[in-house]
């Protein structure tokens, strides 16, 4: 039998509030996915850790190819740029949701003087780019023991 409310209809106000919560979350996700110019948005998100001997930058860039990522040192700045390609699908299929950003992105960080730019290294694993910025020998923390006589 055809019914206006479908088989699972029930009047449960609390559940409807919870459904509203889900809808609101979706609304914000949609707003996020409508951003078309990623150069004005902070992307990718990063964590920076100072371990003493080096500074490590962790940038979350899922689904990139290694060769599409670029790290440059320009006039004392570290420039991280790259391109995220959209999902490759045949043209006749439909997107039910398209939230993941694609396109080119770039972020620039000011490098402190005490970073040895010759020895910067990076690796890309599980969608996280890890940039190691070693400090110059003379600024690394030293442990000097003084014998008290």
């Amino acid at each position: 039998m055809l019914s206006r409310f479908g088989p699972n209809f029930s009047f449960l106000p609390l559940h409807q509030i919870s459904e509203l919560r889900g809808k609101l979350e979706e609304m914000f996700d949609d707003a996020y996915s409508r951003v078309t110019d990623w150069t004005t948005v902070r992307y990718p998100y990063i964590d920076v850790v100072d371990t003493g001997n080096e500074v490590i930058v962790y940038a979350e860039i899922p689904g990139c190819k290694k060769e599409d990522l670029k790290i440059n040192v320009v006039e004392g700045n570290l420039v991280l740029s790259g391109e995220r390609k959209p999902v490759e699908v045949p043209s006749d299929v439909s997107f039910l949701k398209n939230e993941r950003p694609s396109g080119t992105f770039s972020r620039t960080f000011n490098l402190p003087e005490h970073i040895d730019t010759e020895k910067i290294s990076a690796k890309y694993d599980n969608g996280v780019l890890e940039i190691h910025l070693p400090k110059r020998e003379e600024v690394r923390p030293k442990h000097i023991e003084v014998n008290v006589q």
Binding site: N8, S10, L12, H15, Q16, S18, E19, G22, E25, D29, Y32, S33, R42, Y45, I46, D47, V48, V49, D50, T51, G52, V55, I56, Y58, E60, I61, P62, G63, C64, K65, V87, V89, P90, V93, S94, F95, L96, K97, N98, E99, R100, P101, Y124, N126, G127, V128
Partner: protein, 134 residues
Amino acid sequence: MTAEMLKKGGTTAARRERRLRELEKEGRFIRPLVDIVETKDNYLIYVDMPGVKKEDITIQLEAEDLVLNGVVSRDYWKEGKLLCNECFYTRYHRDFVVGYDIDRSKIQAEFNNGVLTIKLQKQEEAKPREIQIN
């Protein structure tokens, strides 16, 4: 509530609320961004989950909900002084209502470079077909 709904663990919304309440106890989580594509035979879900290891992802099918969880180990937070912290979350969580038109025994998933791809095959009866007029 009908007996059938009780057997399934309440409505979709009730199950979702219960899951969220449990998750909120365990720390901050975000809803990962997704692309969902429908083709003739499948639904494909692409999920951005950077920083997760393959073994820390769980995909569960509960009644008609596909529940996705991922845990990120942020061990490096303790390795030194945190100068910048934009990746504040340690968990990914998202659920999808998949309905009963998919073949529940044929769900495949793969994880590559921080992107999880879930392939849901449609049931034979649910695939689009053309009906000839005699």
